[in-house]
């Protein structure tokens, strides 16, 4: 494999990596303020992507309007999911039951996709034309910059929120120790609601920017959900930087692996990594030590 090919493969991996990173950052945020693992996060990305496709077809407006609309819809939508589904579950159920609830949400998303969009794969026109940039023989689709931009925007926005606002301070305090924060009068429910809203925006950013580069349908929800989760675990649940690194790393590895073997076997390798990590280093490559084992 020559140089140009190699770069091409890595770039391809980074695209998926950005999506995994966005999923992982959202999961990680929710986990840190509520200790809930929202397995459905990856499902929302696919739902957002197909919503973007349909909006684009119906409204015929520019992709940017569509992007903004989808972000709004999913911010509000995940807030609603939190209030309607997660809040009662978190009150009544044990942590592994709450995980089952998020499995239920994932399943519901898959079901909704099947019902509303059928079983065919969908894609969309790139935001800024199909003509790629060529730099030194390496072809870079312009959509690529949108995806990377979405990730950068999300991370920068989250950083600003967490470190430059009063709300962010409360959120960080909650992340330190949700129970202690609750006892100190923090409205933990509200913090989680906001975290869900933000994770919805991230899912929307990921879905709407990646769909022009790929095909998605109802049964892609599970791979996204699972791989996004692996990225979050690799990064150490609760760490934004870790989640981004984990996502990009997984994307690249997957790109490289699938070049040599099938993509199924690449995923097997990724998950084997997850399981070994859970067993050996539950706090992730970058994370703090947490209580995973009995």
């Amino acid at each position: 494999m020559n140089m140009v090919d190699s770069i091409q493969v890595v770039l391809g991996g980074l695209i998926v990596g950005c999506v995994y990173a966005l999923i992982a950052v959202g999961m990680s945020l929710i986990y840190s303020v509520s200790r809930i693992i929202n397995l459905a996060q990856g499902g929302f990305v696919v739902l957002a992507a197909l919503t973007a496709v349909s909006l684009q077809q119906r409204l015929g407006t520019s992709p940017f309007v569509v992007l903004v609309l989808v972000v709004l819809i999913f911010t509000v939508g995940l807030g609603a999911v939190d209030i309607v589904v997660m809040r009662p579950a978190a009150r009544r159920a044990t942590p592994d039951q709450v995980l089952l609830v998020t499995v239920g949400v994932l399943q519901t998303i898959g079901g909704l996709l099947l019902l509303l969009w059928g079983s065919l794969p969908y894609t969309m026109q790139p935001f800024t034309g199909a003509k790629p940039l060529v730099i030194g023989g390496v072809k870079i689709a312009t959509q690529y910059f949108w995806i990377v931009g979405a990730l950068a925007l999300a991370v920068a926005g989250l950083w600003f929120l967490l470190h430059r606002t009063g709300l962010g301070l409360t959120m960080r305090a909650t992340a330190q120790n949700p129970e202690a924060a609750r006892l100190n009068g923090v409205d933990v429910d509200r913090v989680r609601l906001i975290a869900f809203g933000i994770s919805g925006a991230m899912a929307a950013l990921a879905g709407a920017t990646v769909i022009p580069m790929t095909f998605l349908q109802f049964d892609t929800v599970t791979p996204y959900a699972v791989t996004g989760f692996i990225a979050a675990v690799i990064g150490g649940l609760g760490s934004t930087a870790g989640a981004v690194a984990g996502g990009l790393l997984l994307g690249v590895l997957e790109g490289v692996f699938s070049r040599y073997t099938s993509s199924s076997l690449a995923e097997v390798a990724a998950i084997a990594v997850l399981i070994i990590l859970l067993l050996l280093r539950p706090a992730g490559l970058f994370g703090r030590v947490s209580e995973v084992r009995r």
Binding site: L39, V98, V103, T108, L115, V226, S262
Partner: protein, 330 residues
């Protein structure tokens, strides 16, 4: 060492379970058996569906022991379905093993795999165990797809022979139905016995409070691993029956969606009971067969139902009903 007399000898005394329930149980079982035997004649069109319901009933029964009784969530039962299905299918197809022997052999293999995995996995806490086993489910589907030369890849393994026991070949829907009925009956009997015996009590103790259980002399890790092994054997046998019935097995049949469905069946019907898994399997496998439109709605409804049941009715349909009846009884 201690030389105090062990458990004092028999001579009457107490009995487990409430009296009403003990009186009802044989009657219910008898009625159930008559209905089950008659079903293929009463509703001839549904025999094929009932075979599948039976297969999943068997798998959920095994999970019931691990998840319901011992409180360990496994989203990865499809791994053992695949070992049983692909393994027995390949042994019969490629190496011409007798089908029953192939199924039994793969059940042993599944038990071994579960023993090894269990020792490592069951140390993980609550949802980390669920997530690691979810990993197993994804690996299973991808291996079935990716190991094309062995498994036939995405299009599956075709040409698996029917199950044969001596002179009987289980080819028709009806033959398979009665076969599955017998296996499920035995499985339910086994799990029911376990649940009512000292082992069932020990598993409940571990689920409720591992430390307190240990203080009674119960080693939690050993019990959890064994429950995992039993659940693996049930799933493996289910997978073998599935493959021999369809004479075919594909990655979709052991996919992640199926892994979720198995857990949903248990949660929906109600863990720690025998009727719960049956109700769950009937609803989840039966509904899609009711028609094209229903089949389209099924994944959505299954997801919503899982959310509602786990949040509001953690005992499931059957468990909840029993609790209600129990409350009304004087």
């Amino acid at each position: 060492m201690d030389s105090r007399s062990p458990v004092t000898p028999p001579e009457g005394g107490g009995q487990g379970g409430s009296r009403t329930e003990r009186g009802l149980r044989p009657a219910l079982a008898a009625v159930g058996l008559v209905v089950a035997l008659a079903l293929p004649y009463v509703l001839p069109g549904t025999t094929s569906l009932l075979v599948i319901v039976g297969v999943f009933f068997l798998i959920v029964l095994g999970l019931n022991l691990l998840m319901g009784q011992a409180g360990q969530t496994s989203l990865g039962q499809t791994l053992f379905m695949a070992i049983g299905g692909y393994g027995a299918g390949l042994l019969a197809l490629k190496l011409h093993w007798p089908t029953a022997l192939a199924a039994a052999g793969m059940a042993v293999v599944s038990a071994g795999v579960a023993a090894v995995l269990g020792a490592a996995f069951l140390r993980l806490r609550g949802y980390y165990l669920a997530l690691a086993t979810l990993g197993l489910a994804v690996i299973t589907q991808n291996l079935a797809t990716g190991l094309g030369p062995l498994t036939g890849g995405p299009s599956g393994l075709v040409g698996i022979p029917s199950l044969r026991l001596g002179p009987i070949v289980f080819f028709s829907d009806q033959a398979n139905y009665y076969l599955v009925l017998v296996v499920c009956g035995l499985g339910a009997w086994f799990v029911g016995n376990l649940q009512r015996g000292q082992t069932g009590r020990a598993l409940s103790a571990i689920a409720a409070d591992p430390q307190a259980a240990a203080m009674l002399g119960i080693k939690p890790s050993r019990y959890k691993t064994r429950a995992f092994v039993v659940s693996a054997v049930f799933a493996s046998l289910g997978g073998s029956l599935y493959a021999f019935y369809f004479r075919f097995i594909s990655p979709e049949m052991v996919g992640v969606t199926v892994a979720f469905a198995i857990v949903i069946m248990l949660t929906l019907g109600g863990a720690r009971t025998l009727a719960g898994p049956l109700i769950g399997a009937l609803l989840l496998q039966g509904l899609p067969m009711a028609g094209q439109r229903v089949a389209l709605w099924e994944p959505l409804v299954a997801g919503l139902v899982l959310i509602v049941i786990v949040t509001y009715f953690p005992l499931g349909i059957w468990g909840g009903t029993r609790a209600l009846i129990g409350r009304w009884r004087p």
